[in-house]
């Protein structure tokens, strides 16, 4: 690890910096706000790192260039936002079928349609339920600070390679644009194993290889699907990430990811000062979702409040994870409105009062 020197940087730049330090040498992308600092950083810094930045003609081209580059085993990345990520969904499905590793960043913006450029979490369903055709999953990472954007970018490359899967970093305009101090570091391993038996490199002294997703023979496609599902089950078993704050004695647990979780932390700190027993569960991996941990928490805390910058997406997964006797409330702000710590303080306080009122009855 390099010396712990802090740099003051935008979230988007933290991602780009981390990607290069993680060994990413090829970036293909198309401009869209609010993520332009990523391609701009890559265009400026990849050549000096011995890599190549290429501005594609569309997000469709970007994701397909990524397919061609990922098949060689190189660490590769693209980034976009809402509408551009929608255009990439075809490619995401092929990544899943082809079992290729790569990292994609979605600094999401409001929708539907052209929407706007402010922060939102409206792309949760698209990210974790599969936005393209077919029965597949991506690994979805949801950072909530600049440092975590950096750390999870490095993690994204490692985990994509571990499972031969597309890893999506789901951020938003707040995370991408906010400038804060981070400590850059370099991982020990900055490239995948060159001896992997599926890499497309030219059939020199070996049998030709094939990367494909077409299976026409009887039963082949079902077999391939079960193989993918087995992989997703391993990911759910081994690579769930979450953070908990003050959940030990919590009577009310807030569940939030990304920017909302960060705002929620401020609200919870104030509520604790006021003597309220509230805690926070922050899923860091949205797929795999921390279902097991939620079930455990739901066996002792019976009240949950899910807060999201959308009209209620992750809340469905929270409800599916919790025991049936838990109460789940939802607080949502769609369309680019960001809740303040005061907003969350008020919403959580109201929930706490409902609990107390019930106890008195």
């Amino acid at each position: 690890m390099s010396s712990p020197k802090k740099v003051f940087t935008k979230g988007n730049e933290a991602i780009a910096m981390a990607a290069i330090n993680a060994g990413c040498r090829y970036y293909f992308g198309y401009p869209i706000t609010p993520q332009n600092e990523i391609p701009e950083y890559m265009a400026a810094h990849l050549p000096a790192a011995g890599g190549e930045f290429l501005q594609a003609e569309s997000e469709i081209a970007s994701i397909n260039m990524l397919i061609g580059a990922a098949a060689t085993g190189a660490r590769v990345m693209t980034s976009s936002s809402g509408p551009g990520i929608s255009l990439m969904q075809e490619g995401f499905s092929y990544f899943a079928g082809n079992e290729l590793p790569a990292v994609v960043v979605n600094m999401s913006r409001q929708g539907p349609g052209l929407g706007g450029i402010n922060a939102t979490q409206g792309d949760y369903f698209q990210s974790v339920k599969g936005g393209g055709h077919g029965d597949y999953k991506l690994i979805v990472l949801a950072p909530h600070t600049g440092q975590e954007l950096y750390d999870l970018t490095i993690r994204a490359f490692e985990i994509a390679e571990k499972y031969r899967i597309l890893t999506l970093i789901l951020g938003d305009a707040i995370l991408g644009q906010i400038k804060e101090p981070i400590v850059p570091w370099v991982p020990e391993k900055t490239a995948g194993d060159p001896d992997r038996d599926w890499l497309i490199t030219g059939a020199q002294g070996r049998k030709p290889r094939l990367i494909k997703s077409l299976y026409l023979a009887d039963g082949e496609m079902e077999k391939h699907n079960w193989h993918l599902q087995e992989k997703y089950a391993r990911i759910e078993r081994d690579d769930v990430m979450f953070e908990e704050v003050d959940t030990d004695d919590a009577e009310l647990i807030i569940v939030a990811f990304g920017s909302v979780a960060r705002i929620g932390k401020s609200a919870i700190a104030r509520l604790r000062e006021a003597g309220k027993k509230v805690g926070l569960l922050r899923p860091i991996t949205l797929f795999p979702f921390p279902r097991k941990r939620l079930r455990e928490l739901g066996s002792r805390s019976k009240k949950f409040l899910v807060a999201e910058m959308n009209t209620g997406q992750m809340v469905e997964d929270v409800k599916l994870s919790l025991p049936g006797d838990c109460q789940v409330e939802f607080y949502g702000r769609p369309g680019g409105s960001v809740p303040t710590p005061e907003d969350l303080f008020a919403v959580i306080s109201a929930s706490c009062e409902k609990i107390q009122a019930k106890e008195i009855v």
């Binding site: 594609a56 469709i60 081209a61 397909n64 990524l66 397919i67 061609g68 590769v76 059939a203 990367i211």
Partner: protein, 250 residues
Amino acid sequence: MKQVFKRPESMTAKPFHFCPGCHHGIVHRLVAEALDYFSLREKTIGIASVGCSVFLYDYFAVDVIEAPHGRAAAVATGTKRVLDDRIVFTYQGDGDLAAIGTSEVIHAANRGDNITVIFVNNSIYGMTGGQMAPTTLLGQRSTTSPYGRDRNRDGYPIKMTEMLAALEGPSLVSRVAVNTPGNVKRARKVIRQAFQMQVEGQGFSFVEVLSTCPTNWGMTPQAANNRIAEEMIPCFPLATLKQKDGNDVL
């Protein structure tokens, strides 16, 4: 006895699945011969497209990536940018390249990406069962132009070779046919030149090959061959419209 004819080393022994009279088999062989000519088999990566040509990987003894429909040129760009000392080619039909993949091929050509694109134009969608293609001739009947292609409704057959030749990026842009022995010989030469451009690092090379689809044209192989001469070539003239010479690279 002297052996005068054999299967190219770049081809597998698998029999083609193509319909009788289809030109894909000839075009596959010409590409394989070009790879053999420059001893490229072990450093070549093929990008398969969607359509009848998707089974490229069954017939070529090279590494292959199967691209989404229309995206072969973009996939090839990605591969070539990482492995710039390998030979990367796409093999695409007219629906794939000239309809859904128009944007990808134009921009790969315009960037001068050092790849080779083999474009098989048979004026119809083969694998999906004979629907109208962007290259379908005016008046030509297909399952989605049952009364013939109408210029007012469907526009005109698109001329990719002429379009790409207008760009500065490509090193070679040519249209050939394989309906007669003479045309096969010329096609062999041009396809070889296309790979030579890539070997020399001269940038994007593109060969359009006029091809039959007897099944979906509803013709015998012989009649289909005749149609190439009588209807296809008058609309899609055979010519090399752009060719950089060796000095351009210096």
